[in-house]
């Protein structure tokens, strides 16, 4: 037994070295940065950076906006992708074409799409034109809090395809015979969806939910393209804060902000895992 372990180690070593060098060491290096003052002496300051960053109004603004945007984007993405995948799963003629098409936005560069998006949401653009046709008033989509709408829609449009593909894979893995038995037993579409489809895809749905949140937390590219380093206040995200701090080479604040945020995300995902386990048990 002991000899076998010794044999395993050399095989594991390259991988372990990689993990230590590229993951573990930077992680602890980052922790060290967040505990020093970044001055010439680089003095150890304990949790002072955490306290300062937490109290910084721009960090708070970034955190608040990131949370708000995530709470809008993630559930919307989760639901929309589920519904769309159900629909696509049932389309038979040219189903492959439609399923492939939803992935196209994911492959397109954001900067190119953004220009078109901004034109659409311009004061004189097609979106406002549609609103006026429906009897509404034009909206200044590209200013203030309204700017969130194009950003959210762009995010959904871009990420929807990826989540749909994951859902579709799970849906197509459900044995057709289960539905056939259920149909013979007289179960309709709704009954099948809740008694067969949903229990069978809970682990996948949970994965999509987590990925939606992860992607939503990282909303930055779109915001940065629109507003630069200092966008309108409703769009200033935590990534803006960290990016600006990085630009000022304030690694202490970057790492501190990153670890605070990471801590919050871990806590949230822990809670989600707990809920998923309970839900899975209930459905079983």
């Amino acid at each position: 037994m002991y000899r076998k372990k010794r044999l395993v180690l050399p095989f594991l070593l390259p991988g372990l070295i990689g993990i230590i060098v590229f993951y573990v060491a930077p992680f602890f290096g980052g922790v060290w940065y967040s505990l020093t003052d970044g001055s010439f002496e680089n003095a150890f300051v304990g949790l002072e950076n955490y306290s300062k960053v937490w109290q910084n109004p721009m960090f708070q603004l970034g955190l608040k906006n990131t949370m708000e945007l995530s709470l809008i984007c993630a559930p919307s993405l989760f639901l929309l992708s589920f519904l769309l995948s159900l629909l696509l799963n049932r389309i038979r003629p040219a189903g492959g074409f439609f399923r492939s098409s939803v992935l196209l936005p994911y492959l397109m560069p954001s900067s190119a799409v953004l220009i078109i998006w901004l034109l659409w949401f311009d004061y004189g653009g097609p979106v406002n034109h549609l609103i006026t046709l429906l009897g509404g008033n034009r909206v200044l989509w590209l200013q203030g809090a309204e700017l969130r709408m194009p950003v959210v829609l762009l995010f959904l449009w871009k990420n929807l395809g990826f989540c749909v593909i994951i859902y579709l894979a799970a849906l197509q893995a459900i044995p057709v015979s289960l539905y056939e038995y259920a149909a013979l037993e007289g179960a309709g579409f709704i009954r099948q969806a809740f008694s067969i489809t949903l229990p069978m895809i809970v682990p996948t749905a949970f994965l999509v939910f987590i990925l939606s949140f992860v992607n939503a937390f990282r909303i930055f590219k779109e915001v940065y393209f629109i507003g630069g380093a200092y966008p309108e206040e409703p769009l200033y995200t935590l990534q803006n804060y960290m990016n600006n701090m990085y630009g000022k080479l304030n690694y202490q604040n970057v790492t501190t902000a990153a670890y605070i945020f990471a801590g919050m995300v871990f806590a949230l995902f822990g809670l989600l895992f707990f809920l998923q386990n309970r839900a899975q048990r209930g459905l079983n």
Binding site: S39, F40, M58, G228, Y230, N244, K248, L249
Partner: protein, 778 residues
């Protein structure tokens, strides 16, 4: 025992004598030497050309102390030959003009000097005045005679050179082309000039026949003396990959031999190229150091010495005994190219901020501490400086940087500046400077920086005009509102007087930009924690928008071309009451103008924002003592104007060094104009000459009063404002224009200036950005 002591004393004595002798010998053996340093205060003299013949270096200095300085590398001695008489001979002595055979007046000038057959020759051209037209006749070759401390020119057998291509036409007149560099190759004089197309052209003149031809070489960038029968040329193909090709050009065969090719990214940084045939080595200057390469590649190049001079507009030539004469318009140095003889300690200076006294400090330090080498690097991108500090980079010992730069602010806040407290000299020097300067040089009471320069600007007013227009000291505006009131009232007050409100060339856009910019910038300095979108600023910007700019005599952008034609008609000769962007530093304080101190409400203490250039020690420097010694010299050798700006006790007025010479010249121009007036019969010409004479006589009468480097009035004006000066903690405009938001701000600002955006939009934007940046912190 007694014998042992005697021997010990004798040996100690001998050792002491040897050490005393050894020190200067060790310094002298490197051969490095300052050949020439020009006056860094007034820029009234220029080192125009350097010629090397064997082991002698001939330095041609023009300007107030025009002379040939001849340095012999063998004897180490310099002889100076005055050029005053020679120059007077070229322009006519004692008011007697030189005349052509047709009776036209002319003056002669040296187009270039060159060495031929071991002697120095001058190529002259004549500038001939024919009524209102100027003509050129050139290509006269004279031999230089240096004797008894004076330089003179002697006639030669060389025929007049075909000079036609060396002139350019402007209207009915012709002018001589500026010769960028010249050399002699075989029996040909070579001159590099800009041609009509804007490209460099190499013209070759046969010194035996006078015939001229143009070399067929593309993409010429530079040319200098090469080995016998060849020229050393530099070519950059800007249409291609822009690499620099260094070649030996043989005009006889019309062929080039490539010696080196420098990559495009380095092409513009390689300067002062010289070739030594004896060891087949190419020397060049790169980032403050002299490099030698035998195979023409940068990879194999070895740094053989520090250059010493700031690395722009540099040239070099090699002497017969292998020293490199490095020069630019303000100084020349001799450099040993044997790396084994370099000093043991070399300090490195990286300049992000410029100072007029930098050269003087370098020269003084070199003389004081010849054992320490000093590398003065090219200025680079300062955004990498903080990263270097975080990596504890010890490559550079001293940095200079603007005190308003965000990088400086980050370095200062994080303590990446070495303490200078060990230097009693620095403490004592900086301790006597203005408090605002002292404060900027200290962090938590510790001396960390040396001030090297100062800039700043504000609205200025003409004190004499102010009084003549019936205003008193109490009428001076003290708030921006009062200033806007003044602007509204001035069209009426200045009408029919000898004053304009602004100078003729100030456009509406310039003025709006200055006014609005200054209102915002001063606000940021005076109220660093306040928001921008306030009723005060909204009111001021609103009022600024309603000003009648036509009534203020401001022109449109597209009118600036034609104002010179309508100069008198538009009142361009009148003095201006106000200047929109007057330099608040002493450097360009005009004696009749004073800055306005404006606040945002009555009773508020005004502030005059200035920016300091600072030098500081890298805390990771491996040579802190030597670097501090250099900083001490820097503080001691500040140029006069900067020193006066920092030290409140320096109040003696300073004349330009060429004051007397300029006065003499002016008297000669007057005599010359009078003589021409007597001869001229044409009425129009007479009228013009009379006007010129009147202006010259007026200028001469006021010359003593106006021709100052630092006049008593100018010093008094500055002293009056110095207590209000405050270094800007950050550059307001860089904050808005810098980074990813710069383009957005630029569009908004231009939109506002052109009337497409409102003051409200501008203020909201500035308010939001600045507030976010401030809240975010560093």
């Amino acid at each position: 025992m007694r014998g042992y002591r005697k021997w010990k004393a004798l040996i100690s004595g001998m050792l002491a004598v040897l050490m005393m002798l050894g020190a200067p010998l060790a310094m002298a053996s490197t051969g490095d030497r300052i050949l020439m340093q020009t006056d860094s205060d007034s820029f009234t003299e220029y080192l125009e050309q350097v010629i090397v013949i064997g082991t002698k270096v001939y330095l041609y200095l023009s300007g107030s102390d025009a002379a040939f300085h001849v340095y012999d590398t063998q004897t180490g001695e310099t002889e100076v030959y005055d050029l005053k008489e020679l120059n007077e001979g070229l322009t006519g002595r004692d008011g007697d003009s030189l005349r052509t055979e047709d009776g036209d007046r002319y003056t002669e000038q040296v187009a270039a000097w060159f060495s031929w057959k071991g002697e120095i020759y001058a190529v002259l051209y004549r500038s001939i005045s024919q009524e209102d037209v100027n003509d050129i006749d050139g290509g006269f070759v004279r031999k230089l005679i240096l004797a008894e401390g004076k330089a003179s020119l002697e006639e030669t057998d060389v025929p007049q050179l075909e000079w036609g291509d060396m002139t350019e036409r402007n209207g009915a007149s012709r002018y001589n082309r500026w010769i960028n560099s010249s050399a002699c190759v075989g029996n040909r004089f070579a001159a590099l000039v800009y041609g009509d197309s804007g490209d460099m052209e190499l013209h070759l003149f046969d010194l035996e026949t006078g015939r001229a031809e143009t070399a067929e070489i593309d993409d010429l960038q530079d040319m200098t003396q090469g080995p016998e029968g060849k020229l050393l040329i530099g070519r950059i193909d800007r249409r291609g990959d822009s690499h620099l090709s260094v070649e030996l050009y043989d005009p006889e065969e019309e062929e080039s031999q490539v010696l080196a090719a420098f990559p495009p990214e380095e092409a513009d940084r390689v300067r002062g190229i010289a070739w030594r045939e004896e060891n087949n080595t190419l020397y060049y200057i790169y980032n403050g150091e002299v490099y030698a390469t035998a195979d023409g590649t940068m990879e194999s190049a070895e740094s053989v010495n520090e250059c010493g001079l700031t690395p722009y507009n540099l040239f070099s030539q090699i002497t017969a005994d292998g020293f490199l004469a490095v020069y630019r318009y303000d100084g020349a140095l001799l450099r040993n190219v044997d790396p084994s003889q370099r000093g043991t300690v070399t300090i490195r200076i990286h300049p992000y901020a410029w100072s007029n006294g930098a050269n003087a400090a370098y020269y003084a330090f070199s003389e004081l501490r010849g054992d320490i080498g000093v590398i003065r690097e090219d200025s680079g991108d300062e955004s990498t400086l903080l990263q270097s500090m975080m990596n504890q980079d010890d490559r550079v010992d001293i940095y200079t940087i603007s005190g308003a730069s965000s990088v400086y602010s980050a370095l200062y806040n994080r303590g990446f500046m070495g303490s200078l407290e060990s230097s009693e000299k620095l403490k004592s020097l900086i301790g006597t400077m203005y408090p605002f300067v002292q404060e900027a040089c200290k962090k938590d009471g510790t001396l960390v920086a040396v001030p090297i320069s100062m800039t700043g600007d504000a609205f200025g007013y003409n004190t004499e005009a102010w009084e003549k227009l019936g205003f008193t000291e109490t009428d001076l505006p003290r708030t921006w509102d009062q200033f806007l009131d003044l602007l509204e009232s001035l069209p009426q007050k200045t009408e029919g007087t000898e004053y304009r409100i602004f100078e003729l060339w100030v456009t509406k856009q310039n003025f709006r930009s200055e006014l609005l910019g200054r209102i915002l910038q001063n606000y940021a300095q005076l109220r660093p924690d306040d928001p921008f979108n306030t009723p005060v600023l909204q009111r001021l910007l609103g009022r600024a928008e309603t000003l009648d700019l036509d009534a203020l005599g401001l022109i449109e952008e597209d009118e600036s071309e034609e104002i010179y034609e309508r100069y008198t008609e538009l009142g361009g000769d009148k003095s201006a009451l106000l200047i929109p962007g007057m330099d608040a530093s002493l450097e360009s304080y005009r004696q009749e103008y004073q800055t306005l101190l404006l606040t945002y409400e009555e009773g508020e203490e005004p502030v005059l924002p200035v920016t300091l250039g600072l030098a500081f020690l890298n805390p990771f420097s491996q040579h802190p003592e030597e670097a501090i010694a250099y900083l001490e010299t820097t503080a001691e050798k500040l140029d006069t104007v900067t020193a006066y700006s920092f030290y409140p006790d320096r109040n003696d007025p300073v004349r330009y060094p060429d004051h007397e010479e300029q006065k003499r010249n002016m008297a000669r121009w007057i005599d010359d104009t009078k003589a021409r007036l007597e001869e001229t019969e044409d009425e129009d010409t007479r009228e013009n000459l009379e006007k010129t004479l009147e202006a010259l006589e007026k200028e001469l009468a006021e010359f003593d009063e106006t021709y100052w480097l630092l006049s008593p009035t100018c010093i008094a004006h500055y002293r009056d404002r110095a207590p209000y000066m405050q270094p800007a903690g950050y550059d307001f405009w860089s904050m808005l224009y810098g980074g990813e938001n710069g383009e957005t701000f630029s569009t908004l600002w231009n939109g506002y200036l052109e009337g497409q955006k409102s003051a409200q939009e501008l203020l909201s934007y500035v308010d939001q950005k600045v507030r976010m940046m401030r809240m975010e912190g560093n």
